[in-house]
């Protein structure tokens, strides 16, 4: 476990706010995951949850294998953090309050609700999600007045957004049987 650099800070809640280098480091990892998913024909979303300079959860979309449409990358990563808490005898409430989510695409309304319920302090994401986005696009769950739904959280958006969009576009081109496959392949 490393200590945060000088640019990073702890606020009065003891919440860790990463500096630019820190964000760059973790988002680089998230983008690598997304790229990896794309190469394997999966939804290209990279998502990781970092606590105390340590990755506790890495999610990928598991909708197909579980037949459960709610198994988004974020929900899967959350479960890994819960498992870690269980194995390390930590209180999940304390851990989530100091955990940052790095994700290549804006979390959907459901995942934003989940993150709020868990009192996550900060989400860093790449591109917007016009269809379901719950962190500003369709709804603004982190900022809305929902006193019974956990705690509001901060968002840093737009990190390498074009790249994240490009990966999604490539994925959906492959998915669409009408789109010429060769064209999608040429791009990478």
């Amino acid at each position: 476990m490393g200590t945060p650099c000088e640019g990073c800070s702890l606020d009065n809640r003891g919440v860790f706010h990463p500096c630019a280098e820190e964000i760059q480091k973790w988002m680089q990892k998230a983008f690598e995951m997304a790229k990896d998913a794309l190469d394997n024909g999966e939804v290209p979303v990279g998502c990781l949850m970092v606590y105390n300079n340590e990755i506790l959860g890495r999610g990928r979309n598991e909708v197909n294998e579980t037949k459960n449409a709610t198994r988004h990358a974020e929900m899967v990563a959350i479960d890994q953090v819960l498992d870690w808490c269980h194995c390390n005898d930590k209180d999940p409430g304390d851990v989530f309050e100091r955990t940052v989510l790095y994700v290549t695409v804006e979390p959907c309304i459901m995942c934003a609700g989940a993150l709020r319920l868990l009192r996550i302090p900060l989400v860093v994401y790449g591109c917007k999600n016009d269809r379901f986005g719950g962190c500003g696009s369709v709804l603004d769950i982190p900022a809305d007045n929902l006193p019974q739904t956990g705690a509001p959280f901060k968002c840093i958006s737009g990190y390498r957004a074009e790249e994240a969009v490009e990966m999604l576009k490539m994925f959906y081109k492959q998915e669409n049987p009408n789109a010429p496959k060769s064209k999608a392949r040429k791009k990478d």
Partner: protein, 355 residues
């Protein structure tokens, strides 16, 4: 003798202490928005059609096709039985000093010849949009006559008369099971919320769940558990509920999706096709959810992702996302919408929170 006894019996079982009401979109449930307009009495009834034409050319009232240009004067003793809308207050240069009503000559650009036939103008309120429901129509009509294309189903639904007594009895049967599950969950130290998913075409209960948020996973709200139990029933699933016997599912035959089940309404068939087309498991397509209290935003969106058909809930919740804080089920930007009804066994569901 016999028929009378029968009637009395049905009457007894037909009484429900609750009313089931639709949770409609903002558009349908909001009050009417009004615009200020100037109207003037028509001095000679015979000029009416001429005046209508002339004013329509001068002030076309664009986007207000639902407004009837002429109305009968409300004062029966008035010497002028008809009144006509001259223009919107916003049609005039906003330089007018506030409060004073311009003269008819000012409204008609000082052209004396055009002013003949109209009395002195007065302010009225006219509905800015066509009314969509009967309550909106009634409110609008109190101010100015408006055309209305009634959706009979919405009207019936708003009166709480959409469902027959038999249908309400079925709802009660399902909600009673959800309440039982909620109580079982409470015994396990969970929030007292219960949910149930049913295939309304076969009347088969496919999953019953209670809240499991005080298990190791705080996100296991009753709705999330119920959805996951449906996934289990279809050979998937993410969590294990062995510790909670009140949470259970019925394995669904996968061929259910492939057979030409005539009982499936066409509206579901089309979404079913979409589901198979994209290869994604929209596991709740065609199913109804019963839940004792209004779902939170996470659960509501999970129901969108799962393509639920209808949701029936008992009581509202303060951060609820199907009517109270949001109306996720009516959002046009989202790719699936569904019907929501509230009030099923409301009092019994309310009592759960006091357990």
């Amino acid at each position: 003798m016999e028929p009378q006894r029968k009637r009395r019996k049905t009457e007894e079982s037909d009484t429900f202490l609750w009313e089931v009401l639709p949770v409609l979109s903002e558009e349908l449930s909001q009050g009417i928005e009004f615009l200020q307009a100037y109207a003037a009495p028509i001095i000679n009834k015979k000029d009416t059609s001429h005046l209508v034409k002339k004013l329509a050319a001068m002030y076309p009232l664009e986007g207000l096709q639902h407004i009837k240009r002429v109305r009968a004067c409300r004062d029966k003793h008035s010497p002028h039985p008809l009144e006509i809308i001259v223009c919107l207050a916003s049609d005039l240069n906003s330089k007018e000093e506030g409060g004073t009503i311009p003269s008819i000559t000012a409204l008609l650009h000082n052209s004396e010849s055009d002013c003949t036939g109209l009395g002195e103008p007065f302010l009225v309120k006219i509905p800015a949009f066509p009314p969509l429901t009967r309550p909106q129509f009634e409110e609008a009509s109190r101010h100015w006559p408006t055309s209305f294309h009634e959706d009979k189903q919405v009207t019936v639904a708003l009166k709480g008369e959409l469902f027959s007594k038999d249908e309400k009895a079925t709802m009660q049967k399902y909600m009673e099971q959800a309440i039982e599950a909620a109580k079982a969950g409470k015994e396990e130290g969970m929030a007292s919320v219960g949910a149930l998913i049913v295939d309304p075409d076969t009347d088969a209960v496919l999953a019953v769940a209670h809240d499991c948020r005080n298990s190791p996973n705080p996100l296991l709200h009753a709705v999330m558990v119920c959805i996951d139990l449906i996934a289990h029933g279809q050979g998937g699933g993410a969590y294990n509920y062995k510790k909670y016997p009140a949470c259970h599912f019925v394995p669904t035959d996968a061929s259910h999706y492939l057979t030409n089940d005539n009982s499936l309404p066409s509206v579901n068939l089309s979404s079913l096709e979409q589901a198979t087309e994209s290869g994604l498991p929209y596991i709740c397509t065609g199913y109804d959810l019963y839940v004792t209290r209004e779902p939170c935003v996470m659960c509501a969106m999970a129901l969108v992702h799962s393509r639920i058909r209808r949701v029936f809930f008992g009581v509202i919740s303060s951060d609820g996302a199907l009517g109270t804080k949001y109306k996720i089920h009516t959002k046009k930007d989202l790719n699936h919408r569904f019907e929501v009804f509230k009030g099923v066994m409301e009092q019994d569901c309310q009592k759960l929170s006091q357990l």
